[in-house]
Symmetry: C2
Subunit: 297 residues, 2 copies
């Protein structure tokens, strides 16, 4: 990031050249990319870097409370590109089903209060000892359907996030964009959409066709790279764009062709990224975004 | 495994009760499951355990030579359920393309000499620095098509092995049974089939439908489990049936419904399995097979 000397009386962020860099006008910092930062630090970091949007997580929002978070966001001028995350509704035990539903209702309310463009839904994996993935998938669909009336009432679009099959057992039984769209198709696009994340979907054989099919159901476009060898903790195996095997120009072109006009979130789970200073991470992220994503929007 | 005392003049293997255990009549030991064993040891171990079939790998066969391997197999009475592996033909540089083709022609000849039910084709990943997965997939299809005439001439059925998307970058760009069938469909079933491996395919959303569609194109059914957490080396993350998240009864029932009459190979890449004595591995493998797979054939 380039910086300039400014009179000390002027808030630095209004004088950062990047503040007016039109190339960043749709870039969003997902909080997890700078997991080393609190919500306050992430908001300040995004503003200072000229990033106009942020993807929030429920836990750091809860730490400061919804009212405070909302006030900080209003003051910052940042858009909220998504709230992560609802879902985890593949549970089968009645008490767990009720608890998951209640948690998701709360998440919808939070997304509404925060003005998030979508509530990201991570479906959840197989309950302990349960090997019936087809039944888990059916429960996820049923749980989603039970949420739709409340989401509609609160004006929140639910975003199904298909996850890489590496997570099918323990995190997300919706494993392809095709499957996510098959689920979403029975609802209105204003109610249920899909999250397109390059990391989760880059391998899908008919991905271009499915992105085209998604059309206005794409409620979030998230980017990060698939790197090899996978780190020992595969949950933290996501790389900065350009460090792995994904063609971001190809992917971005396909998403842009649908007319997607929302923000592009950079969401990276990676221990090395989290160990680096947040400002450095953001500087790299901006550079890669401007190089590999933005020109193809 | 139960053993009985026998007169020392009688070869032990003919007197092992399991030798006549009809429940094992379609079980095959893939050599990789007992990677700690040489080909000679694997043949002897399978025979001693009453396992009637073996899945061979080219490298250990090459160590003793094709003629010797063939003689040992003839003498043992074992069937050869598959030869692993051809493929790795996503390369793009002309010299590499020619080398891959030559290697695959040799593999077809070896499969023919060994009487293997199929030559397993692992498609290969992205060449170094190449991010165009769609083009890599096209090259794999073209390379496959160039092999078909020779395979037909030698009477070898080529078996496309779709691989878990975790391997899309570095090992196999054919990532689902649906995709494998889309490729196979332009050839005759006697020329190009598919390998159904539970580990690679258990997550596929429409797997039952795709297995049904596969019908007589299934040239190999391989079983092992998806375990979590994944080991640090994900290539060695396969578990013994029953140790992970896969429902073998469900999967086996679907394959059996196609009329598949071939062998069922147990193929496990796992450092812990390889560290155990081969006979113990085989004993566990037989027990789990009889419990979780065989009753559903």
């Amino acid at each position: 990031m380039t910086t300039v000397d400014v009179p000390s009386a002027t808030p630095a962020r209004t004088c950062t050249p990047d503040r007016d860099d039109a190339r960043l006008s749709r870039l969003s910092l997902n909080q997890r990319t700078t997991a080393q930062w609190s919500l306050r630090e992430a908001i300040d970091g995004a503003v200072a870097a000229g990033i106009p949007s942020i993807g929030l997580w429920r836990e750091p929002v809860a730490e400061v409370g919804l009212v405070t978070a909302r006030a900080w966001l209003d003051e910052s001028g940042l858009r909220v590109s998504s709230l992560c995350r609802g879902g985890f509704f593949t549970v089968s035990e009645p008490g767990a089903v009720a608890a998951a539903h209640a948690s998701n209702i709360a998440a919808i309310d939070e997304a509404a209060e925060l003005g998030a463009a979508t509530l990201v839904l991570v479906p959840g994996g197989l309950p302990d000892g349960d090997k019936d993935i087809a039944a888990a998938r059916r429960r996820a669909v049923e749980a989603l359907a039970r949420l739709v009336p409340h989401a509609r009432e609160r004006g929140v679009v639910l975003g199904i996030e298909p996850m890489h099959p590496i997570f099918a057992a323990d995190r997300g039984v919706v494993s392809s964009l095709r499957q996510a769209l098959d689920i979403a198709d029975v609802f209105a696009p204003s109610e249920v959409g899909v999250v397109v994340d390059t990391y989760h979907l880059w391998w899908e054989p008919s991905i271009d066709e499915q992105i085209g099919r998604a059309g206005d159901r794409i409620v979030s476009f998230q980017v990060c790279d698939w790197i090899t060898p996978l780190p020992a903790d595969t949950l933290l195996g996501r790389g900065m764009m350009g460090d792995g095997h994904i063609s971001f120009p190809t992917f971005t072109t396909a998403v842009a062709a649908t007319g997607y006009a929302g923000d592009i979130e950079v969401e990276i789970f990676n221990a090395d990224v989290w160990a680096a200073p947040g400002d450095e991470v953001i500087a790299t992220m901006k550079r890669r975004y401007v190089e590999l994503v933005q020109p193809f929007l």
